[in-house]
């Protein structure tokens, strides 16, 4: 290896001090991947995703809504009666 090549190697080795740490590589990778997926997801697919029926989640929300109505309606009456009194 001649002098010039040796000095090149020395400087290239020194520049490895700038290598990103593993956490930085992971962080950047996650963000880049998210951008990549978003770029490759057609708009129609995104809309269809919003319209997708989720039976279990839907049932959960319905039950929670019904429970809220059943519990809160008598409490509301009671509260308004107390305030009127």
């Amino acid at each position: 290896m001649n002098d010039s090549a040796r000095l090149d190697t020395t400087l290239i080795d020194a520049m490895t001090r700038f290598d990103p740490g593993p956490n930085a590589v992971r962080r950047m990778g996650h963000r880049i991947e998210a951008a990549f997926v978003a770029d490759h997801t057609p708009l129609v697919a995104e809309w269809m995703e919003l319209l997708r029926v989720r039976p279990l989640a839907g049932l959960g929300y319905s039950l929670a809504g019904a429970a809220a109505l059943l519990l809160l309606t008598p409490l509301g009456w009671l509260l308004s009666a107390v305030l009127a009194f």
Binding site: R6, T10, D13, A14, D19, P20, G21, G29, V37
Partner: protein, 210 residues
């Protein structure tokens, strides 16, 4: 992955670029939306892009943002990339990174002096456990950043592409709109200057090769 490339990766030196046909196959897959291919391209080039960007940025955080933006832009523009003989994919990717760094106007020269202490940099895998050794490595990094900050912008970009990313002189020339002879001249001059500054630290770490 070829054996030579795997070998150079395993031993930490800046390896030769992976075979261009392998890269082209990955690019083709990524163009069609294959996440695995995009992930692999990122892994193959992140160190080289980050090193170059870091040498041009004011802080690690800036370099991280510029690097991720550059990859995101490059992946979004893959349909515009046309392979050319003598112009590796890395060269195209680095052109995007350079433009992103310039657009942000966060050139190292203005703010490097105010950069947080080098030891705040996240240690790499296999970083020296010895605190004295880590201090020395951090100091070397800080001195390197300072030395690069003192270079004129064009020379700093040449050094970044040649020594941080490992591009050959003709590819650097193509990316920066210079002649290859001019790039070689700048490299020779700046290399001697940088090594003279770094020599005391490199001697201590036993890395100087004269």
């Amino acid at each position: 992955m070829t054996l030579t490339y795997a070998f150079s990766l395993a031993f930490g030196a800046l390896p030769d670029a992976p075979p261009e046909d392998e890269i082209q196959a990955l690019l083709e897959a990524a163009r069609l939306g294959a996440e695995d291919a995009a992930r692999r391209l990122y892994r193959l080039f992140v160190d080289r892009v980050y090193r170059a960007v870091r040498s041009l940025s004011a802080s690690d955080a800036d370099a991280e943002e510029v690097t991720q933006d550059s990859f995101a832009k490059a992946f979004a523009a893959l349909h515009r990339y046309r392979p050319q003989a003598g112009k590796p994919f890395l060269s195209w990717l680095l052109t995007i990174a350079l433009n992103t760094a310039r657009t942000r106007g966060r050139s190292l020269a203005r703010r490097a002096r105010r950069e947080a202490p080098a030891l705040e940099h996240e240690p790499q895998d296999g970083a020296a456990p010895d605190p004295e050794e880590r201090l020395l490595q951090g100091e070397l990094r800080r001195v390197l950043i300072g030395a690069l900050a003192d270079l004129p912008e064009r020379d700093r970009e040449v050094v970044a592409l040649r020594y941080c990313s490992g591009l050959k002189a003709p590819a650097v020339a193509e990316a920066l709109g210079l002649t290859a002879a001019n790039v070689r001249k700048i490299c020779e001059r700046r290399r001697s200057q940088l090594i003279a500054i770094l020599e005391p630290y490199l001697s201590e770490t036993g890395e100087v090769r004269r």
